[in-house]
Symmetry: C2
Subunit: 328 residues, 2 copies
Amino acid sequence: MPLDLGAKGSCQIGGNISTNAGGLRLFRYGSLHATVLGLEVVLPDGTILDVLNTLKKDNTGYHLSHLFIGAEGTLGFVTKVVIQCPVKPSSTHVTFLGVDSFDTVLKIVKLARSNLGEILSSCEMMDHEGVQSVSSKFDIQIPVKKCPFYMLLETSGSNQEHDSAKLSKFLEDGLENNVILDAVMFSEQSKIQKIWPLQRCGSCLKDATYNYDISLSLQDFYSIIPIMRERLKDQDVVTVCGYGHLGDGNLHVNISVREPNPAVYALVEPFIYEWTSQHKGSISAEHGIGLAKKHVIHLSKSETSLTLMRQIKQMMDPNQIMNPYKVF
Amino acid sequence: MPLDLGAKGSCQIGGNISTNAGGLRLFRYGSLHATVLGLEVVLPDGTILDVLNTLKKDNTGYHLSHLFIGAEGTLGFVTKVVIQCPVKPSSTHVTFLGVDSFDTVLKIVKLARSNLGEILSSCEMMDHEGVQSVSSKFDIQIPVKKCPFYMLLETSGSNQEHDSAKLSKFLEDGLENNVILDAVMFSEQSKIQKIWPLQRCGSCLKDATYNYDISLSLQDFYSIIPIMRERLKDQDVVTVCGYGHLGDGNLHVNISVREPNPAVYALVEPFIYEWTSQHKGSISAEHGIGLAKKHVIHLSKSETSLTLMRQIKQMMDPNQIMNPYKVF
């Protein structure tokens, strides 16, 4: 299955399609637009639309499946899906790195792309605050020395020996040139499964966490975190942390407070959305719009785009019965 | 650039988007739905729709770009595109194989997927009739002994030594087990460039060729060729040949005649489309519908799908001015 995400175990595949879930391996296998070949969808008038194509190539008319991917159920209800699954990799390695700055994180991304090439399947970054929270809450030891940033890189390939050689060379280059401060590498599944939770800083979320899911170009990727810390320095905030999928430019921002705090909230929103918009980012990388972001969708989409979207919605669901009040 | 196709040099990128061009490396990099991140499109009313997103993840409203990919210019005119380009592979190898039957071709696909895994970037098959035509017309020697089928496999990776080892092992396994009858392998660019034209059996097309571009599941992939030869055995036909992108299930069928021949045409159409439809294939894998296939689009798409497509067309282009008379 090309899709893997934090919500695995509770999410459903129809919901994944409707929210265009991205997750941990989009970097390797592409978005659902890349892997979904066909859908069955119940349209607002009850008609069943069968575009359950199993072919990789089919250029006969408009590509209707894509209209429902990411439409948040507002155009139809996804009931069946054909998804293209890659050959399961026979060799998987994970390395957990300690890094001194975000600039160095970006250097490591370059190094990983050139050394690991086609076997790189995940490229994640987490700041110390995020990893420290998970480490304490779930009692998982951070496997490298304390550093301002950590990275988790995964490789998936068809040849254990070649993959291991590529990863070792990458680590040697990084350690020798002092871009990597500390590193561990795992190839056993049991150890890999124990290390992944350190990436899931979002699993520490409490009710009183303000959390955001934005995407940005890599040069702007982490800048919002120090800005937000400065902005909130006089407030009663537990942590401001950032972690995300570097391969996709998707940053999760978590602002954790002791209890719901209107003063903090007022400093965070709409500032974070406006800042993201000014930096040509997306105010919702993978979580969608729903109810919570209806009032800021215009910060990521032009009026012309929104008009066309509303026309499509009006044409397909004139009675507004599909997932009402959402998105627009 | 993730897209490479026979029409390189004469096609244009806007046309590639509008026809959802597939080409030689769809197997590796996915379709244009996978690689196009954003578009600028002139809508039928003259409005410029700017969805020139450069982000890999952006779930803010409907994913409008996908509506124009493969719409054959009937919904708008593509004027700009943001496309995601992979890191250029530093190592490329091509192997040209001779094979005894189509069943063996399928065995080799499996062998290639397991041995070559993530570095396999093209997996092409051609029958002897097709390759013989190119070989004669362009005076290119077939580099292996005469066989009923040939395959051209390309690998692209980041490590010359690893890629070469994987490919050598694949060839050794195939030759030892007699699934490959004869093989050559090239890693020099100049030699690779000389061998690729043997795959382009379509480059021999004459005005009086009936040519088809269908997609099918792999078990049905080649069956239409012997059926068509039997059907046309008493006609004045030069060759019936089949070649295509095995990784994508896309078969090109060329029926070459000395001059336009209504008797041949009547035996070929609509039979080939009906046969493809009965085998759950697509009557147009990558060439689109245009004018020529309007009358058979219903063989690949349900009435519900066609109704929704027509509604979208009517809503966006009520005056039917965009690429008029095409598709519907």
